[in-house]
């Protein structure tokens, strides 16, 4: 009984790590740029497909392919910001939102044309034999995914807190005009933030794609869930995204295990609605941050 519970929780935490990575990216993009990135799921999907192409199709080393895949998504993110979002900066919030929706349609359909719609598996170099840690059985790839997620989250946190660029990002988040007056190149920060968020989403996609499978529509559900995560944690709240992501992962895993796997995707949304009834600003959000 207990072993089963622990198993679900561990699986949930690993899944949650992936959600947290998505959530961090999304919340940073919203917090700093005030853009709701509806293409986030597609960036996630691109990370998985880049890995698939580099590793499964072109035969690069798995770890090198992973790094390059993430870098590739970062480049895509930078391009999107420079070519599309920069033009739309002065428009009301609906306009960049819809532009991102349009972009997600474009990317997803391009993916269908480039790679076909059938799901693919990435034959990673890890053994399929589960490792046993006490009562828990975890496949090596999942341990890898979990470990990398933790490392990336910690790395992102350190980056934002300790580096000069991270400080500039935080300044832009708190008061864009003051940041400009202090010599921060806000244009560059925006581009970097979007690329950074995209990279995190791409990493999440590569990791989860390696654990599960890869198909063009995989971004849809991932996007919706990362929105749930971000709402739970409070828009713009880094720590909240991490906690939200882990919570969602565990809730889904427990829900699938004990209630029903058909409805497991709904759990996240029901949770948000309930949470927002109780605390409209999210778990950690500050009141009045929504606009």
């Amino acid at each position: 009984m207990l072993a089963e519970l622990v198993q679900h929780v561990v699986n949930g935490l690993i899944l949650g790590g992936g959600y947290a990575l998505m959530g961090i990216g999304l919340t940073l993009i919203f917090g700093i740029m005030r853009v709701v990135n509806f293409a986030h799921g597609e960036l996630f999907m691109l990370g998985a497909f880049f890995l698939y192409t580099l590793f499964s199709l072109w035969g690069l080393n798995f770890f090198a392919a992973s790094l390059l895949a993430v870098a590739g998504v970062a480049v895509v993110g930078a391009l999107v910001e420079r070519l599309i979002l920069r033009r739309l900066r002065d428009q009301p919030i609906e306009i960049p939102m819809l532009a991102m929706v349009a972009l997600s349609v474009i990317i997803q359909n391009a993916a269908i044309l480039i790679w076909d719609p059938s799901p693919k598996t990435i034959r990673h170099p890890f053994s399929p034999v589960p490792l046993t840690l006490g009562p828990i059985h975890v496949v090596a790839i999942r341990v890898f995914a979990g470990a990398v997620a933790v490392a990336l989250i910690a790395g992102a946190h350190l980056f934002i807190q300790k580096t000069r660029l991270g400080r500039a990002m935080r300044a832009t988040f708190q008061d864009t005009d003051m940041a400009r007056l202090s010599g921060v190149d806000v244009d560059r920060i925006y581009m970097f933030t979007f690329a950074f968020g995209a990279a995190l989403a791409g990493a999440s996609g590569a990791l989860l794609g390696a654990v599960f499978w890869v198909y063009p529509a995989m971004g849809d559900l991932a996007a919706l869930k990362s929105f749930a995560v971000v709402i739970m944690g409070g828009l713009g709240n880094f720590l909240g995204a991490i906690v939200g992501g882990l919570l969602l992962g565990v809730a889904e895993s427990l829900g699938a295990g004990y209630i029903s796997s058909g409805y497991k995707d709904a759990i996240g949304f029901v949770l948000i609605i309930l949470l927002l009834l109780w605390r409209p600003q999210g778990l950690f959000g500050k009141k009045g941050l929504a606009r």
Partner: protein, 593 residues
């Protein structure tokens, strides 16, 4: 007949004649689908006018469709009943969701609505007993009006039916958007606090927009169910919502015809792209992106020549310098003191921002509330006007206890606040700003607005007259059609005063009205306040500008660290040692001229 009406009549006639002209059934089908999407886009547009983007709108479409379909299949009810039933059920669902989510704003609302639609989709997919799940619900009976003879079979019949529904939708949304209700919605979007202060309940008006949108979506769903006769959970898919959002934004949000233009164009564009087969969705996304990037105001903007833009209130010849008419007799005439505040205390954690404050504002009096920064003056204002709740104490407006009432309710009673710094509706013209503020004076109800009753039309005209008078009084008569955010800072402040005076208040609260104004502008402001004094208005103002305070006010109350330290005439206050110590400092103080 105006040019606009002529074009409208021509378009309408062409539309009605199309089936007779022998247009192919396939194109009639597309037009029917365009009509259905118009109902959906129009609803979304209405809610967006209030500032809320509902990206779960397709859920209400699906709810209406399934409700109608299931009622038709299981109970054999005629679509005459199931369509309204579907619309009502969707409306109720919208009301419930609104109750839960309309306290959220902006991005939060968007994300929760997406989540809602997803949940409904999952329910529809998994609750196979009810909905047949992904297999879909087939066999929905087609339209019949209770007897076999009147079963609608041909495309043409459905075409005319959707025309009726679309026509009703167009009329309703046009009436709502161009009336005071539309002004109220836009006010909520542009400056919610100011809207509340003008007597507009943000919650109620947004809810009105939401429920109307959901009823329209439900009606569209019901029609769809009996037209296509097959339903699947894909109706709840995000794809649909994307389509609707495209139609609204690319058509021209906030306009009456935008959703119609968007619905027509974006029903036909995918069909034209059908040739491109594989690349169809990709091209559709690209077109959408280009439209959003390069034409964010929508297609209607470019059709403005045909009069399709939202009706900004027409302006007449410029007026100058009217005298102020308080419009007395509207709302409660306070007996005794106009406003009394008793033992108000507000704590933030351990700190008392306002500590046991009591004051009385006499009728026709001008009372100043002064004190150093952080003394608690704005907090006191927030409590009086309902933007903040006090931990103790009561606020009376005349004979009525208004403690804890929401801001719009307090404004409705005749207690109006002018906010600190500039508070206007930036995207509306100066005239529309003041006209919006006349909201509380309206007496005709929703029915009157929808039917354009004579009473309603008369009311609109008299409110426009009043608004123009107010603008002339503050000296902005020549700037009626100017966009509010284009006015200079001083002009915006004057506009703010006009907004505060428009609803014929009996008590006016002015929050640092002279802040940021130069000497000339301050003198002008003083003149205006003097000008309204004799008309039965009582004024409570917070100010730092001592010349204004000493020159204008009958009495002064001094606050320091949340506590009232002195009260009296300006002369008494100038000499009061506590006040001098806390605030005015030593050295020369401006004496009354």
């Amino acid at each position: 007949m105006s040019i606009r009406a002529l074009w409208g009549a021509a378009a309408g006639a062409l539309w009605l004649a199309l089936p007779v002209l022998g247009v192919d059934d396939y194109y009639l089908h597309l037009l029917v689908m365009a009509g259905i999407f118009f109902l959906l886009a129009a609803g979304m547009n209405l809610l967006l006018a209030a500032g809320q983007l509902n990206l779960g709108h397709t859920a209400f479409f699906g709810i209406g469709a399934y409700a109608s379909g299931l009622l038709g299949i299981h109970y054999g009810l005629s679509p005459l009943w199931t369509l309204p039933a579907g619309a009502c059920i969707a409306g109720v669902a919208g009301w419930l969701l609104g109750m839960l989510t309309l306290k959220l704003r902006g991005a939060y609302f968007v994300l929760v609505t997406i989540g809602f639609a997803e949940v409904i989709r999952l329910v529809a997919t998994n609750w196979t007993d009810l909905t047949q799940g992904p297999m879909g619900l087939a066999g929905v009976p087609p339209f019949n009006l209770a007897t076999e003879r009147f079963t609608l079979t041909s495309k043409r019949d459905y075409y005319y039916l959707i025309t009726v529904l679309a026509g009703a939708t167009l009329w309703t949304t046009a009436r709502l958007l161009t009336s005071r209700i539309g002004r109220a919605l836009r006010a909520v979007k542009e400056n919610e606090a100011l809207a509340e202060s003008s007597g507009i309940s943000a919650y109620r008006y947004t809810m009105l927009a939401m429920v109307t949108a959901c009823v329209l979506a439900g009606a569209a769903g019901g029609f769809y169910a009996h037209y296509i006769t097959f339903l699947s959970p894909e109706l709840f898919g995000f794809q649909n919502t994307v389509t609707m959002a495209v139609m609204v934004v690319a058509g021209g949000q906030g306009t009456v015809l935008g959703p119609a233009v968007g619905a027509l164009v974006f029903t036909f564009v995918p069909e034209l792209l059908r040739m491109a087969a594989f690349y169809r969705m990709l091209l559709y996304g690209a077109i959408l992106l280009l439209v959003v990037m390069f034409m964010p105001q929508g297609l209607v903007f470019y059709l403005r020549r045909f009069g399709a833009s939202p009706a900004a209130t027409p302006v007449g010849p410029a007026r100058d310098g009217a005298t102020f008419e308080a419009g007395a007799g509207v709302g409660e005439s306070p007996a005794g003191s106009a406003l009394s505040v008793a033992h108000i205390t507000v704590r933030f954690g351990g700190l008392a921002a306002v500590d046991d404050l009591s004051l009385e504002l006499g009728r026709g009096e001008i009372l100043a509330l002064i004190g150093p920064n952080g003394a608690g003056k704005s907090t006191a204002f927030n409590v009086i006007t309902g933007f903040q709740s006090a931990d103790a104490g009561r606020v009376r407006f005349g004979a009525a206890d208004i403690t804890g009432e929401p801001p719009y309710r307090i404004a409705e009673r005749g207690l109006v606040r002018m906010f600190q710094r500039t508070s206007i509706f930036p995207e509306s013209s100066a005239l529309d700003n003041v006209l919006t503020a006349c909201h509380r004076l309206a007496r005709t109800g929703l029915a009157g607005v929808l039917c354009m009753s004579r009473a309603n039309r008369f009311e609109e005209r008299s409110q426009i007259e009043r608004a123009r008078d107010m603008l002339a009084f503050v000296g902005l008569g020549h700037k009626e059609s100017e966009l509010a955010r284009m006015l200079s800072c001083g002009e915006q402040r004057l506009l703010g005063l006009a907004i505060a005076l428009a609803p014929a208040p009996s008590v006016l609260l002015l929050d640092e009205p002279a802040a940021g104004l130069n000497a000339v502008e301050t003198v002008r402001l003083m003149g205006l306040i003097e000008g309204i004094r004799g008309h039965g208005l009582s004024v409570l103002l917070v100010e730092h500008d001592m010349k204004l305070v000493m020159g204008l006010c009958d009495r002064v109350v001094v606050l320091n660290y949340g506590i009232k330290i002195a009260e009296g005439t300006p002369a008494e206050i100038q000499r009061h040692p506590e006040v001098i110590r806390a605030y005015l400092g030593t050295g020369g103080v401006v004496a009354r001229p």
